[in-house]
Amino acid sequence: MKGLCISPYKNYSSIHGTCNNGAAILTNCFHRNNINYPTHRSLPNIKLFSARWLKISCSASALSAAVVGEVEEKREIFDVEKARSLVKELQGVFNSGRTKSYEWRISQLNSISKMLDEKEKDITSALYKDLSKPEIEAFVSEISTAKASCKHALEELSSWMVPEKVQTSISTYPSSAEIVTEPLGVVLVISTWNFPFLLSIDPVIGAISAGNAVVLKPSEIAPVTSKLLAKLLDEYLDNSAIRVVEGAIPETTALLDQKWDKILYTGSAKVARIVMAAAAKHLTPVILELGGKCPAVVNSDINLQVASRRIIAGKWALNNGQACIGVDYIITTKEFAPKLIDSLVNEIEKCYGKNPLESKDKARIVSSSHFGRLVKLIDEDKVSDKIVYGGQRDENQLLIAPTIILNPPEDSEIMKDEIFGPIMPILTVDTIEDSFGVIKSRPKPLVAYLFTNNEQLKKSYVKNISSGGMLVNDTVLHLTVKGLPFGGVGESGMGSYHGKFSFDGFSHKKAVMYRSFDGDAPIRYPPYTPEKAKLFKVLISGNPLRVFLTFFGFV
């Protein structure tokens, strides 16, 4: 037993992952730990206690393992039964109230922050293996964004958690009221492969901030990152309440069969329907972060070079176009199109050189099936003769060169679905206002971009176009603004997150009203005599508020 107690964490996790009794003992152990918090909190180095915590839990679970007397196999098939017992176990932990405390939330967020600091290299290398994402791109778009999100939550959590006092109207006088945020319970986060780290950890940060128990299911299409997430979350976080389930369709199906208190899904509209249908069975609310064809309307009154670069940053330098918020296609005027294409080509070559297939600065296509899908899009008969730039590919390395297509027909495959790759169709219109009709004739996108200096055009774009978010004169950067909600509308999804919106998304806003026993008028209660009815009638003709005053005893 003693030997087990000082055994490394690896043992701890494998034991714990399969042992329910362990969890019960752990629960007590964490409770004790929580009580000690005030002293921990006063320590200058807040990171200290997560390490101590792990040690305590390590010994506790080792102890329980000795009690149970067996250590199960690490990898087992994750079926409906397993999923059920997992949810049940987490429900128990949630009901114990541990995850609700401010201290628990902060300690977990601190651990995430620590993990991001210490494991940066591991994360970038996993992302390189899965997507050959350039180190700097991985750092900027995934790690730093996750860090920002975590830091923001750490700074703001105490203010988010404060109940919101609201004014009560005269109709319920005398009373006071507030809105208390409470965690929902056990939530499921299903993430995706294109930003496999960020899109996993960011919702988890939100779920933890709100005090929930979480199960994360990363995408099997980015297997190295998925494995790393499972390992790191197990190592750094309280895994009696935070778990990672790896796997593909069978595992996801088993998970979706369970009753969750909220599901956040990032991915395609097709799978979203499966998720929502499963959620409907248990009346589980869902947040669906989908994509769609995000248009960029480019007017001629712009700084062309800057605009071109920003479009590149929002397409090819963003996971090589494999991003839900990337620019999907451009709309510009007939006259301006040649200039825009020249400038784009010029800037693309500055970024990736004359032979872009050789550039190491782009992510590759994630899988051969996606590669095949994209190649089919550009090889379609009515499209292939519209290629004005690029089109080269390398099947072995899963690379496709930045490709520009001018005016593909409306009914071509490339204009039907989200492209999710390094191909940029450019549609031309007579006047720039005609672009509105093009966008409105399609499902609502996640983001709509606009490049112009014309204030009037900006105004009418904002007013007329419905999309999840909007960014004028840049791409993607609105993601970094914590004060903005991130989420879609219509086909691009429902619900939003980021910053406080994540917190709210994983919380229930409980309305609480306080009344005293004073202040009651007989008119509120039956029997409804003719006199009472008459009084109402009189009052109805006057100020309706007075009727309420009367009801509740103040006239």
């Binding site: 809105i179 409470e182 700084n303 950067l477 009344r515 109805i540």
Partner: protein
């Protein structure tokens, strides 16, 4: 209707105001017809009808009219220093064409309250009232078509077949009030077009009644309990008190007071009093009857009332003490004038009792103890909590109204109705002024180092650099950086 929405007419503030005013007119001009319809469908006394439906709506409409401008205005997002040359804001925009399913127990309130939100948010709306309150349904249809812009607001009457038909269409939001079972059907149908839904369901809303010391407090509490159960459409309300939790030693006092209060409010023969609504239809009447008749143990637990009249669909206010917990009366939402009282050793046991059941739409707590109040608020979960009163939270415009877990999701009333029927569009604007070479590929070692160096010293710094707002301490600034 989609065409009409696209024309943009409903987005204008003037249109929204005119429709809200038209609704106000509708309520004021057709008051007596509404009273009559409610009397006919539900036997609701017009004082109750005014208190719970018409008056409530007039109040909501005035509130919406007074606040609409503020709700519609863009909210500037708080921007961190990094976004110096940018602006960001959140603009509420209408969703498009929305569908409202309302319920029969408050046929006007539950139809028009969401309608106010949908119209205030600038949507086109289809309202499907419940066919179980037919007089109200047809009155809604006729008055709305004459008073409101009927290119944008339509009432479609019909049975559940019509409901199914409507659900097959594409909507931008579905707002449903009703039962859990139908809620599942609605959400499953919404999957086809990924339509967001709001489900306003019910559940067993408990009232925790502490052993109150002063007789004034006791009487006030019991009056509020009785009106929160029998006085709100005879308990046929999603927020009415479903059952009471009380300490064993307080039970006799409570039962005596309840009996006395019922007698005072509804008289010796409640059937003859006009002050209590009847059961909506035969089916629901039988369901309630069976709750009692099917289980002899339940029947034996009746301590007051229990008489039923098949002809007038009337059920007397009925009190049950400690019916078996596994009986249907304690597992399903009662939705009628049966009030079970469950006794506990200590009132604190109520927390565990509540937590072992599905989350309720409302929790009512009658106590003067701050500790008990706080414990119940923080240790149990429900759509809302009302301390020392019942049902009244429905009237508070400043509080969100909605469930959690089995009692539904999404919320409305006041500003929340507006938000429910709006999409909050995030908008960020940038100028072409500042940009740096290192934001773009080709990536080289220098750029990586720059990011990392900046990162190790100051996290904000790196974002500043990415955004092109801060000069790095490097000599390479003469590159093609500045525009």
């Amino acid at each position: 209707m989609r065409e009409y929405y696209r024309s943009g007419a409903t987005k204008e503030a003037s249109w929204r105001k005119s429709q809200l005013k038209a609704l106000l007119n509708l309520l004021e001009e057709n008051q007596s017809e509404i009273f009559k319809a409610l009397k006919q469908d539900l036997g609701k006394h017009h004082a109750e009808a005014y208190r719970d439906e018409i008056g409530m709506l007039i109040k909501s409409l005035n509130y919406a009219l007074a606040n609409l401008k503020q709700w519609m205005s863009a909210k500037k997002a708080k921007l961190p220093a990094i976004a110096l040359l940018s602006t960001a804001e959140v603009i509420p925009e209408p969703l498009g064409l929305v569908l409202i399913f309302s319920s029969w127990n408050f046929p006007f309130g539950l139809s028009l309250e969401p309608l106010i939100g949908a119209v205030a948010a600038g949507n086109t709306v289809v309202l499907k009232p419940s066919e179980l309150a037919p007089t109200c349904s047809s009155l809604l249809a006729s008055t709305i078509s004459t008073n409101l812009d009927n290119k944008a607001v339509k009432v479609i009457e019909g049975s559940s077949d019509m409901g199914t038909l409507l659900l097959q269409q594409r909507w931008d939001k579905i707002f449903f009030t009703g039962s859990e079972k139908v809620g599942r059907t609605v959400m499953s149908a919404a999957v086809k077009y990924l339509t967001p839904v709001v489900l306003e369901l019910g559940g067993k809303s408990p009232a925790v009644v502490d052993s109150l010391q002063s007789s004034w407090d006791r009487q006030a509490a019991v009056k509020r309990l009785v009106v929160g159960k029998f006085g709100t459409c005879a308990g046929q309300a999603c927020i009415s008190v479903d059952y009471i939790l009380v300490e064993r030693k307080f039970l006799p006092t409570l039962v005596e007071l309840l009996k006395a209060t019922i007698w005072k409010m509804f008289g010796e023969n409640p059937k003859k009093s006009n002050s209590i609504a009847r059961i909506i239809n035969k089916q629901h009447f039988l369901r309630l009857k069976n709750l009692i008749e099917d289980d002899p143990l339940v029947k034996a637990s009746i301590v007051h009332g229990g008489s039923m009249d098949d002809d007038s669909l009337f059920i007397e206010p009925t009190i049950l003490v400690d019916p078996p917990l596994e009986a249907q009366v304690m597992t399903d939402e009662i939705f009628g004038p049966l009030l079970p009282i469950i006794t506990l050793e200590k009132i604190e046991d109520s927390i565990e009792f509540i937590n072992s059941r599905p989350k309720a739409l409302a929790l009512y707590v009658f106590t003067k103890s701050k500790t008990l109040q706080n414990r119940l608020i923080s240790e149990t979960s429900s759509g809302s909590v009302t301390i020392n009163d019942a049902v009244l939270q429905y009237a508070a415009d400043s509080l969100p109204f909605g469930g959690v877990g089995e009692s539904g999701f999404g919320r409305y009333h006041g500003k929340y109705s507006f938000e429910t029927f709006s999409h909050e569009k995030a908008i960020a604007r940038r100028s072409f002024l500042s940009d740096f070479w290192f934001r773009y590929p080709p990536w080289n070692h220098n750029k990586v180092q720059l990011f990392q160096a900046a990162y190790t010293y100051d996290y904000l710094g790196i974002l500043l650099i990415i955004l092109g707002l801060k000069w790095p301490n490097q000599s390479s600034r003469h590159h093609d950086a500045l525009f």
